[in-house]
Each structure stands twice: as structure tokens, then as C-alpha cells.
């Protein structure tokens, strides 16, 4: 996602610095990746998983983002983006994780990824219409990735009343014969 690095730095550097200082003090991750990661690290993966779960909590017969391990699917997707896009996405995730105001009783900042799902959803909706451009961008980028991975997942087809891709036997079709397709020059 083409999140402007400059915008992120301008708006986010203070929060990022604060966050970086706090990282060491944070308790363990709420979620841990089930397998080796390709683009994210354990922390950004867990923030992404907490975003996905807040956006797609499941229920009423729908699987949740956690059940489908959307964050790991996205780790793979993100690994194919330009390195600078990957870096910006990770920055965006850290920015979000450091965004919640207030401190826990023991004086530590409350990371987004450890907040209740309702708080997370409300925070995300706040970012959707935030007056801070970079927040809207982070929301849009993360929402796009998460929703594409979730609603494009075959487990969700039925919930969308979608029969799934039809099969025209194309996989078994012979390779296109370019010379047969060609028109001879007039």
C-alpha cells in the first residue's frame, strides 16, 4: 500500500518514538503466529491479527479472522509487495498499536493489540474518519488487505450468497495456439 512514508514520519514519529521506548516494557504478545513469517515480525503480525479479528469477528455462523488465520495469509501477501511498502505497513501497524490514550494501572501504555475487541473496533472506526490523514490511510490500507483476504476466502462464499467461481474446464484446455489465433497480414 502506498502509504506515504513522509506523512507517516511527520505525523507518526512522536508516537513511534514513544512506542519504541515502551516496547521493552510491554508484556508478551496476545497472539503468536502459528508458523514462520515471511514479511512481518511477531509483533506486527500480532497487531495485524488483532486488527483482522476486530474487523471480522465472525459469529452468526461466520468464521472469525482468527479461525481463518487471516494475519498469516496477509503476511504472505505483504511479502510480495515492494520492500518500502512492507516497511510502511509495519510502521502503520506499530503506529496503531501505540495509539490508545491512557495508561494501565501499572503505568504501562495500553497497546491496541491488547485492548478488547470492542475497543479495537471503535478505535478503527475512529481512524476511518480521523482528521489526521495518516490514520485514515492506515485504516484504508489495513481494511483493504483484511477484507480482501477474508471475503475472498472460499469459506465466506456461502455467506455472501456467492456460488464460487464457475468451472469452464479451462484448466484442462490445450495451450493457446498462437499461430492458429493469428490473422495473416492483409
Amino acid at each position: 500500500m502506498a502509504l506515504s512514508r513522509r506523512a507517516l514520519l511527520l505525523t507518526g514519529s512522536a508516537a513511534l518514538l514513544a512506542g519504541a521506548g515502551g516496547l521493552a516494557l510491554w508484556p508478551g504478545l496476545t497472539r503468536t503466529p502459528p508458523g514462520p513469517l515471511r514479511s512481518l515480525d511477531a509483533r506486527t503480525w500480532s497487531v495485524l491479527a488483532s486488527v483482522a479479528q476486530a474487523m471480522c469477528p465472525g459469529g452468526d455462523g461466520l468464521p472469525s479472522a482468527d479461525e481463518l488465520d487471516i494475519a498469516s495469509a496477509l503476511d504472505l501477501t505483504i511479502s510480495t509487495l515492494h520492500a518500502a511498502d512492507q516497511a510502511e505497513l509495519k510502521q502503520g501497524l506499530l503506529l496503531l498499536d501505540n495509539a490508545l490514550p491512557g495508561l494501565l494501572l501499572d503505568g504501562r501504555a495500553q497497546p491496541f493489540s491488547r485492548a478488547d475487541v470492542d475497543v479495537r473496533a471503535a478505535t478503527l472506526l475512529g481512524w476511518r474518519t480521523s482528521r489526521i490523514g495518516v490514520r485514515r490511510q492506515v485504516f484504508k490500507a489495513l481494511r483493504g488487505l483484511v477484507m480482501a483476504a477474508y471475503w475472498g476466502h472460499p469459506r465466506l462464499y456461502a455467506a455472501a450468497g456467492y456460488p464460487g467461481p464457475p468451472d469452464f474446464g479451462q484448466a484442462q484446455a490445450p495451450p493457446d495456439d498462437l499461430l492458429a489465433l493469428a490473422e495473416v497480414s492483409l
Binding site: A54, A121, A160, A173, L179
Partner: protein, 510 residues
């Protein structure tokens, strides 16, 4: 012959008469003509050579494979989602097949405002005749329109608005609805099934998964195209290099990418390269119908209305079509999350989305967007949504909501972050009061145009009316980036026609 980059076992250097960068609408039509005229042509395409055997119609596989930036391309502020193709055939492999000749009104605007001579309906007609024959461009019978498209007809008739069948470049179309993911039955007459085979039969050497990084030039002449082989799976660059040393170089990478390639090559055209980039920005309104309309099924675009394409000299016009909605694309049109999103998606079979495409670049003050390079080399597209566009977006929303309700929808639903829901004309005031523009609602583009504008004067354009770069003798641009304004109709046929016309200019330069 098509050679995937992965088959290059060592760095290679080629010479030829003409090197064409990009295998889409412009590049392919041109290549066929040049090869048939006996020229030795090398074509480079950064995307894969993908055919119906690869088109399994699964959005999660198709979109990263067939779209620019793996489907994540957007404006720098992320407000506009940019759909643009990236495979052999370019955007024609994934486009929705609607074909129009360039409107005379637009040609006249180019003549009077941009001083472009020689592009009038009569002189373009033989070129259009020829591409229409080769691509089997013909009206899609009204009675075959899917429910989603028929709604436009029904709504327009109820309101007394103009609407009619669209022409499509198909032969043996299975009416699947999956044009956007690659045609599974070779019905769409995309470039990889038409002009590319024509060119191959006449000797074209096409390299897929190979991206042109830079055009080298010296003394006012382009001397080489430096390219890198990409990994087909990930689309990421490998170590492998290909260098082409042609007599004539043609850039046909499409809007956004062609100006970016020029900028990477240090060719800025007096600061004009990348400027005047137009998008036909798209806004939409959903209609929730009593009966299923199955927006994922049937020819995606077969009816359109140009009722509001000309709203007078001081307003941005727009035209209406509809959009196919497979689940992933449907999910991207909304801004919802959680339960609200689940409800939206649960209604998909009964949801139709009509779209308005804004005709940018015609008002004197509308100079569109700008393509530039980031310090790390990535492409950046800035497209400010100025007040005249915001006004048009608002008017388009209201017109679309009227059309949707007139077509019998129970409810018209805006794609705002907080969707406005309209059941009758009274509730339309909500739309009059709603905000419009960046990050207020979904905005898409599937029609990227401009960035290397055509015109006679180097101070205000990048290429001449013969597609030759001002100041670089043997370098041409033959793709959608030469359009000086948006078109007010879907652009593919204009690009085919211009490329057909450009065959002579490029051939003569060899």
C-alpha cells in the same frame, strides 16, 4: 515467440528495429502492424504470460497475478483505488470489454483547446473500422443484459433519460461475468488472443516477466532499454538483466507506468512528464433489490447512459455504467467493518452497483493528477480532488440514487463510510448534505489516461501528434498516456485506434 523471463539463463543483450515496452492495448496493436510490415520487433512485458488455463477465476489468485502492484495500486493518499492490468495483453486481459470510438466532442476539444490537428472522426474512421473488425466489436444485445445492467435501462426509461446497449469486443462470450479476472473461455478478444498472435506469427519476440527500468539516451536519441527479469510468482526483481539496443523505442506501458519510466530515465519533457494524468474517477451507488440480481454473473458492462456526460462548460460531466461484484471487489467498495460489513456482504446477490465515471481534464482549471517518483524509486500518483470534482461526485450520487430507485430498488445505498440509505426521493436530501471527496466514500479508477500528453508544443505537451517524444527523435509513446484529456467513454478503443494510426509514424522512423 513468447519467452518468459525465467527462461533467460544469463544476462542478455538484443538488437532489433523496434523495442516496445508494454503489451497492452497500445503496444499490441502497434506491434502487429510493425511486424507485418517486416520489421524486427522486441516487446517487453513486466507481467506474466497468463492464459485461460491460468484463469481459475479465484479473485485471491487472479488479482495479484493480473493487476499492477498486486492489486494494491492507489493514489498516494490511498483515497482512490487504481485498477490497472499487468500481464501479456495489459489491461485488456482484465478489462470489462466496453468499446467506444472517441467522441467527436472530445476530438473537437483537442483540436480547439490542445491544438491537435489530424485527429478527427473521418481520419480516425479507417483505423477504428479495422480494429472493430479484428476485435469483433459489436453491440451486446439488450435482451442479453444481465439483471444488474438491465436496471440501468429500466431506471433510465422510467426517468426519460438516455441509455442504451454497449458494444463489446467478444466472440463466443460465455456470459460468465468474470472479464475482470481473465476470460476463461477465450471469448474476450483481448490482446493476447488477437494482435499479439498476429505479431508473433509475423516474427515478434515477446519477453514476459521483464520490466524496463530505464531508457538510455544520448544526443537526443534513445540508444538502449535496460530491463530486469522479475520472478513470476512474486513479481519481485531478480538479478537477471536484459538490454535491448533498438533503432526505435516505443513506450506502451500505459498511463502512470510510461511517465514513470521516462522519469526514471531522466526524461522530464520540460516538467510535463507525469502531469495531466486523468482517471475517470468512479463513484458508485448500491441498489438493494427485492429479487436477486447476481452482480457476479453475466457480462459485466452491457448498458450505459450518457445523460449527464456534458453538464455545460463549467461543470464536470459523468456517465453511467455498472460494475461486476465478485466478493473481494464487493468488499473493497464498502468502508464497513464487523457486523455491518457482514450484513452488506450477506445481501450481495440482491445488490447491484451502478457507477458514475467523471470526465476529468476538460475544464480549463482541471489539470488532473501528477505521476512522480519517490526517492526509493517507487511510483507516486497524486490526484487532488478539487471542488469541481467534489461537486460532480455529489451530483453523480444523487443522479445514481434516482436511477437506482427508478429501476425498482427497495433501497439505494451510498458507499460512504457511513452509508446513506435512500428509499424515496424525499430521503435524497441526505445525499445533498453528505460530504464528498477523498476518504469520504469509495473512489475507484479503471481508466488511467494522460501523463505524456499529445500536442504540438513542447512547452505544453510531451509527444507530438505523431506520438514522437518532443526532443528525442527515435522515442515514441503509444498508449493511454498520450491522451490530453479524459474521454467521457471507456478508453480502450481510442487507444487501439491511435496505436493503429501510429504504425505508420513508428515504421517510418526505423
Amino acid at each position: 515467440m513468447i519467452t518468459p523471463g525465467s527462461e533467460l539463463s544469463a544476462d542478455a543483450e538484443l538488437s532489433c528495429d523496434v523495442c516496445i515496452v508494454g503489451s497492452g492495448a497500445g503496444g499490441s496493436v502497434l506491434a502487429a502492424g510493425l511486424c507485418q510490415a517486416g520489421l524486427d520487433v522486441v516487446m517487453l512485458e513486466e507481467g506474466p504470460y497468463a492464459t485461460r488455463r491460468d484463469f481459475d477465476l479465484d479473485e485471491q489468485k487472479a488479482i495479484p497475478m493480473l493487476y499492477q502492484d498486486r492489486g494494491t495500486r492507489s493514489t498516494a493518499d490511498l483515497a482512490i483505488t487504481v485498477l490497472q492490468g499487468r500481464s501479456v495483453g495489459g489491461s485488456t486481459t482484465v478489462n470489462w470489454t466496453t468499446c467506444f470510438r472517441t467522441p467527436e466532442r472530445i476530438l473537437e476539444h483537442w483540436r480547439t483547446v490542445h491544438r491537435i490537428e489530424g485527429l478527427d472522426a473521418a481520419s480516425l474512421a479507417p483505423h477504428f473500422d479495422e480494429v472493430e473488425r479484428r476485435l469483433n466489436i459489436a453491440p451486446w444485445p439488450e435482451e442479453l443484459a444481465n439483471p444488474n445492467n438491465r436496471k440501468i435501462l429500466e431506471g433510465a426509461r422510467a426517468l426519460g433519460w438516455e441509455a442504451g446497449a454497449l458494444r463489446r469486443n467478444v466472440k463466443g462470450c460465455a456470459d460468465s461475468g468474470y472479464c475482470g479476472l481473465g476470460c476463461p473461455v477465450n471469448g474476450k478478444q483481448a490482446m493476447h488472443l488477437t494482435y499479439i498472435p498476429d505479431a508473433i506469427a509475423a516474427g515478434l519476440r515477446l519477453y514476459s516477466d521483464v520490466r524496463a527500468e530505464r531508457v538510455e539516451s544520448a544526443g537526443g536519441r534513445a540508444t538502449a532499454v535496460h530491463a530486469v527479469v522479475l520472478d513470476r510468482q512474486s513479481g519481485r526483481p531478480t538479478e537477471r538483466r536484459l538490454t535491448v539496443r533498438p533503432k526505435v523505442t516505443v513506450l506502451a506501458g500505459g498511463a502512470i507506468n510510461t511517465p514513470a519510466l521516462l522519469l526514471r530515465s531522466g526524461i522530464e519533457g520540460q516538467g510535463r512528464v507525469g502531469r495531466r494524468t486523468f482517471l475517470h474517477p468512479v463513484v458508485g451507488i448500491g441498489g438493494l433489490y427485492e429479487e436477486p440480481v447476481l452482480p457476479f454473473k453475466g457480462a459485466p458492462q452491457s448498458v450505459g447512459s450518457h445523460q449527464f456526460v456534458d453538464r455545460g462548460p463549467d461543470k464536470v460531466g459523468f456517465f453511467f455504467e455498472s460494475a461486476p461484484l465478485q466478493p473481494m471487489l464487493a468488499a473493497l467498495t464498502a468502508s464497513l467493518i464487523g457486523k455491518e460489513m457482514a450484513r452488506f456482504m450477506g445481501a450481495l446477490p440482491n445488490l447491484g452497483v451502478m457507477i458514475a465515471l467523471l470526465v476529468d481534464g476538460l475544464l480549463p482549471e482541471d489539470d488532473g493528477g501528477v505521476v512522480s517518483l519517490r526517492p526509493d524509486g517507487r511510483i507516486r500518483l497524486d490526484y487532488p480532488i478539487r471542488p469541481f470534482l467534489t461537486e460532480a461526485m455529489g451530483s453523480a450520487h444523487i443522479a445514481l440514487a434516482r436511477l437506482t430507485l427508478a429501476a425498482g430498488a427497495n433501497e439505494a445505498l451510498s458507499l460512504h463510510h457511513k452509508p446513506r440509505r435512500m428509499r424515496d426521493v424525499m430521503s435524497m436530501t441526505q445525499l445533498a448534505e453528505a460530504p464528498y471527496g477523498a476518504h469520504e466514500h469509495a473512489i475507484f479508477t479503471a481508466h488511467q489516461m494522460g501523463g505524456c500528453a499529445m500536442g504540438p508544443d513542447p512547452a505544453s505537451s510531451v509527444v507530438g501528434t505523431d506520438h514522437r517524444l518532443h526532443g528525442v527523435d527515435n522515442l515514441f509513446v503509444v498508449d493511454g498516456s498520450v491522451l490530453p484529456t479524459a474521454l467521457g467513454v471507456n478508453p480502450s478503443e481510442t487507444i487501439y485506434g491511435l496505436a493503429h494510426r501510429a504504425r505508420g509514424f513508428v515504421g517510418e522512423a526505423v
